[in-house]
């Protein structure tokens, strides 16, 4: 039974029993329940018969929900590429040789549909010209009003590899901005820039781009940043779509009660002082779920998170709580829940009676926002109590 291989961007097919991807851990084949003939009432057991180890293929295994109590949660669900299928710049229907950066990455891979050979699907021959569209969706509109950070690096890597595999190929880069920061970025860019086979065209917005399928390949029509119209032809077009939050980021954020930023990514607690902490203590963020970033930064964040957790959750040791926290005078709390609404850290909940507020000192960051907000004046800001502040005021104004 063969179905489209999502791992290779649907460019080839795989079996109903398959290895998810080269190097997957654990390196075991899995059965795709939806594709397996048995799930459709069939009696097939070809895979079991082919397997030399008895009882290694288990048909009875079911998905399980496992509940665990944990001391910390790491969110590292990554980002996804902007869906390009509906972009007007691509016309009615993106052609066979219009690839997203992900799909092209698979075309380059040894384990990809062509074993790493760069050929067009239309002709089976190497491309004579390639157009790479940078910034597709990025730097535009309210939702993608940012640079996706990895695309230029990615595009120049593609350029480098295409030229190695197809030495005669000409490469057109259409970009809004070129961003190659860091100690290695410029060297790669310079090598591509100084190569006579690379051409650069700056376009102001996707509105002025049109990818059209032609008899002999593709044409990318544009109006460049200085207003001059032009066209390049290519046998293969690569789009570098914006990195956007994954489809289930919103659901996950609601489930965890952590905030998202204006773009929909998981919000860090502070962009400089606490970049891997979510808005809730004990829930950490690593990688592109927080913001577009390259591998190096994502790795750095992962390690920072591991460090935070290992140093905070030491077996047998108590967690230290900052002394500056809020505390409710439960006797006098009116249960108006104003504090619950203003706390940025979800540190306040209803107590067992459901009538009074209660602060979780572990989650409280001690900002005092709830203290100022409590209309009954019964939320106490430890170390910054009303009495202390008023006495201080009386002192300095005397």
């Amino acid at each position: 039974m063969a179905v489209k291989n999502g791992c290779n961007a649907d460019l080839d097919e795989r079996k109903a029993i398959f290895f998810p991807f080269a190097g997957a851990l654990p390196n075991l084949p899995v059965i795709d329940g939806a594709a397996c003939l048995r799930s459709q009432g069939g009696e097939c057991q070809l895979c079991r018969e082919a397997c030399p180890v008895e009882e290694a293929v288990l048909f009875a295994e079911q998905e399980q929900v496992i509940e665990k109590t944990v001391g910390a949660i790491v969110v590292a669900v990554g980002a996804q590429l902007l869906d390009c299928a509906t972009l007007p710049a691509l016309g009615e229907r993106p052609g066979a040789d219009v690839y997203t950066s992900y799909a092209f990455e698979r075309l380059l891979a040894q384990s990809g549909p062509t074993g790493g050979e760069v050929v067009t699907l239309r002709t089976g021959k190497p491309p004579a010209a390639v157009a790479i569209l940078h910034c597709v969706g990025s730097l535009e509109g309210a939702q993608c009003d940012y640079c996706s950070e990895v695309c230029c690096q990615n595009a120049f890597k593609f350029n480098h590899l295409i030229r190695k595999k197809v030495p005669g190929a000409v490469i057109h880069h259409l970009y809004k901005e070129l961003v190659m920061p860091g100690k290695d970025g410029f060297a790669l860019y310079r090598a591509i820039r100084d190569d006579p086979a690379s051409h650069f065209i700056r376009y102001p917005s996707l509105d002025v781009l049109r990818v059209e399928e032609r008899e002999e390949g593709y044409a990318v029509a544009y109006t460049d940043a200085s207003g001059v119209a032009g066209e390049v032809t290519a046998d293969l077009v690569i789009l570098c779509p914006a990195l956007v939050p994954t489809t289930d980021t919103a659901t996950l954020a609601t489930l965890l009660e952590v905030q998202r930023d204006r773009l929909g990514f998981f919000a860090e607690q502070h962009n400089r002082l606490a970049p891997v902490q979510s808005t809730v203590r004990g829930i950490y963020l690593a990688g592109t779920c927080q913001s577009p970033m390259d591998l190096q930064k994502a790795m750095g964040q992962g390690m920072a998170v591991a460090g935070h957790i290992l140093s905070e959750l030491v077996l047998g040791e108590r967690i230290e709580i900052e002394p500056v926290t809020a505390e409710v005078d439960a006797e006098r709390c009116a249960g108006c829940w104003v504090c619950l609404q203003v706390c940025p850290y979800k540190a306040i909940h209803r107590d067992e009676s459901g009538r009074r507020a209660c602060v979780n000192a572990l989650l409280c960051a001690g900002c005092g926002i709830c203290v100022a907000a409590c209309p009954a004046g019964v939320m106490r800001g430890n170390h910054f109590t009303n009495e202390a502040i008023l006495a201080e005021m009386a002192g300095v104004l005397a």
Binding site: Q269, P344, C367, G368, I369, V371, A372, V396
Partner: protein, 144 residues
Amino acid sequence: MIRQQAATAFEPKILAFLCNWCSYAGADKAGVAQLSCPPQVRTIKVMCSGRIDPQFILEAYRQGADGVVILACHPGDCHYKEGNVHAARRQRILLRLLAQFGIEAARCRMDYVSAGEGEKFARVLTEVVEAVSMLGPLQWNTTD
């Protein structure tokens, strides 16, 4: 003539609420840079501008302050995410209330000073002292 002399000699009392993470450090910065800051200002540190209860400000006037300043982290930079948003909202509401008592907006200023902005710290305080000096001592007006 006598009244005029009294007016020029008027030294306002200003109370400034400083956020621990920005303006309190900004004050330090101003000090290290040896910028001159108006001596009429007395400071109170809070962890975040969001801790400032509008009642503190009313109490400050009651105890003789002629003006109050709230210095918070820049929008988007609050250490606690949104404390400065709450502070700004409360200050705007308070200004409306103060207007009903005839208290001028210049006596209750909110501004944003980061930890690096020693110069802005000194400038804002100087401006407040000048503005309040022009207005003269605070007089409660409860007749309308």
